[in-house]
């Protein structure tokens, strides 16, 4: 168990470290694609999870549910503390909006890792083996990014002057940037 756990944790740390670095630097943001990362992570996570033959117990469900709640909460917070700025020169893909969450966002990632490891150890002792699979890690991350995307989707500055539009369907140029019709 310890070898598998170590590998999973390393994968998680590598991914989270990369994402944490991105939190503190200004990153170009494509409003139409905020949902792409969580979608890909969720699909890969489900596929990986389907290949693991661990038996599901009610304890697994308990810990998965708790972890899901925490990761959604962190994701919503990250979406809320995200700052936006509009740069004058678009990048190669024509994006002008940049976003950043700063050190608070990076520390939220660390909180997520600590919670993840803590629940792994606790759940492993209580027999929740599903919790430690790679697919679960990806699903948890996908949930986190999805919660962030949900908030960002509604907060993203629409329009060319960086003002906060309330509706996504009024983007200049007629391009509909809103991923989903939610509010």
């Amino acid at each position: 168990m310890s070898v598998q756990l170590l590998a999973n944790v390393l994968i998680g740390v590598a991914l989270v470290g990369f994402l944490g670095y991105r939190q503190t630097t200004w990153q170009y943001l494509d409003p139409a694609r905020v949902w792409r990362t969580p979608m890909i992570m969720a699909i890969v996570g489900v596929v990986v999870l389907a290949q693991t033959s661990a038996t599901v117990t009610t304890t697994d469900v308990v810990f998965l549910g708790i972890e899901a709640l925490i990761t959604i909460g962190v994701g919503l917070t990250m979406g809320t503390i995200t700052r936006f700025r509009t740069v004058a020169t678009p990048d190669r893909k024509g994006r002008t909006i940049q976003s950043r969450t700063g050190w608070l966002g990076a520390s939220l990632w660390i909180v997520l890792i600590v919670v993840r490891i803590g629940l792994d150890v606790l759940g492993g002792h209580l027999g929740a083996h599903l919790l430690t699979s790679t697919g679960t890690i990806l699903l948890v991350l996908a949930l986190n990014r999805a919660a962030r995307a949900l908030v960002i989707d509604q907060r993203i500055p629409r329009g060319d002057r960086g003002d906060r539009g309330d509706r996504g369907d009024r983007t200049p140029g007629g391009r509909t940037t809103r991923g989903m019709m939610v509010r």
């Binding site: 599901v56 117990t57 009610t58 304890t59 697994d60 469900v61 308990v62 549910g65 708790i66 899901a68 709640l69 959604i72 909460g73 919503l76 919660a147 949900l150 019709m181 939610v182 509010r183």
Partner: protein, 413 residues
């Protein structure tokens, strides 16, 4: 859906506004779940805490039925989810019903963020799973109820989208009505400007003449002028009344959609009522032609050279009315800015079009010119009006399509 009533049946807290069917189905649901809760509970000898918590969940569901304010509804939904999920395992998944209803309630509520229902569902799954672990229920049971909760989240989201769409449709309708109102106001202000500028401007000229005649001691001429001034004032008053009436009756002329002259006269016998107040009834606004304007211009002491058919027989009602308004404005401008100078008015038939040109020396533009263009744009036909300085004259030239009926009659004769 009743528009502009300020109330959307799909977005109301609950109770009275919701359809009777929805209310009845919910009431039936509460009754059925309560019945089985009591029946199974008596058979299974449920512990006291399950009775209490289950009753709280059912009470919250009943409260939701009669709840009026948003806060009551949200609280009822949360209580249904918490209390219901605590008793799901003990009641063999019977109490998953209030949990699902509560999730739908939160999901469909537009004042609650969209993620709340999903988070509540995950929380409910955790509570159910904890209860299942304690009571050694199967994992299939937990997964099955989770599927039910997922269904609740999806239903709530779908209802939410429906309400958003209904909200937007209502808002769009409101904006359209507002735009219509503004257009109507602009037309009314233009009509009032045209009528008042014409009759009051003419009145000033007439009264100036009366004053001059009186100073010269020519009392008889002054009396005649005063009579003409009175006629003009009565005409102006009648037209102002008509404009105000058209505003009030909300059946104002809209030539683009209703070129039928009946629409113009439909604000009911106003012209007839007004005609009584006239001393000279030769100029009826709704069957207007240029004769009356030419006569009026001459009576104000102006010189006007007329060429062509001033009755405008070749035009339909809407175009004729527009021409009359523009010529009135042009003559009014000519009197104001170039008093005493000769004005020429020509009406020329050019194939299937009519050209109307008013020319006078040296005038300036004003509010009326804008109104001229708007009036012609509103016709929605190929009719155009040009008002500009040409050499040392000011020329107002109109180009209009011939009315199909009149054209046929013209060819027949």
């Amino acid at each position: 859906m009743t528009l502009l009533s300020g109330q959307d049946p799909t977005d109301l807290p609950g109770g009275r506004s919701r359809s009777a069917t929805a209310w009845g189905l919910n009431a039936l649901g509460v009754a059925v779940v309560a019945f089985w809760f009591v029946k199974n509970g008596l058979e299974q000898q449920l512990p006291a805490w399950v009775w209490v918590v289950g009753a709280v969940a059912l009470a919250a569901w009943a409260l939701r039925e009669s709840g009026r304010t948003q806060r009551v509804l949200v609280v009822a939904g949360v209580v249904m989810i918490v209390a219901g999920s605590l008793t799901v395992v003990a009641t063999d998944s019977l109490m998953v019903v209030p949990v699902i209803v509560g999730i739908v309630l939160l999901g469909a509520n537009l004042r609650v963020p969209v993620w709340v229902a999903a988070v509540a569902a995950v929380g409910a799954v955790v509570v159910i799973a904890v209860c299942a672990t304690v009571e050694h229920a199967s994992v299939q049971f937990v997964l099955g109820t989770s599927g039910g909760l997922l269904l609740g989240v999806l239903i709530g989201f779908s209802r939410r989208q429906f309400r958003i769409a209904a909200d937007r449709a209502q808002q769009a309708e409101r904006e359209q009505q507002r735009a219509q109102l503004l257009a109507d106001r602009s037309r009314a202000s233009r009509d009032i400007h045209d009528v008042l500028a014409h009759s009051l401007g003419g009145l000033v000229l007439q009264l100036d003449a009366v004053e001059a005649l009186l100073e010269a001691g020519r009392v008889d001429d002054a009396t005649k002028r005063a009579g003409e001034a009175r006629t003009l004032a009565a005409d102006g008053l009648a037209e102002a009344r008509r404009a105000v009436h058209a505003l009030r009756d909300d059946a104002g002329p809209d030539p683009a959609t209703a070129p039928d002259p009946a629409v113009r006269t439909s604000p009911a016998d106003v012209p007839d009522a007004n005609r009584a107040s006239r001393t000279s009834g030769d100029h009826v606004p709704d069957r207007a032609d240029l004769t009356a304007l030419v006569d009026a211009h001459r009576s104000f002491g102006g010189t006007i050279a007329v060429q062509g058919d001033v009755t405008l027989a070749a035009l339909d009602e809407a175009h004729r009315a527009a021409v009359v308004q523009v010529v009135r404005e042009a003559l009014s401008n000519a009197r104001r800015h170039a008093p005493g100078r000769p004005v020429s008015l020509s009406v020329a038939r050019d194939g299937d079009a009519v050209d109307v040109v008013v020319a006078n020396p040296l005038t300036g533009g004003g509010q009326g010119l804008l109104g001229m263009h708007e009036r012609f744009a509103e016709l929605g036909s190929s009719a155009t009006v040009e008002a500009e300085r040409s050499d040392d004259e000011f020329v107002v030239a109109m180009h209009l399509p011939v009315d199909a009926v009149a054209a046929a009659e013209g060819e027949a004769s």
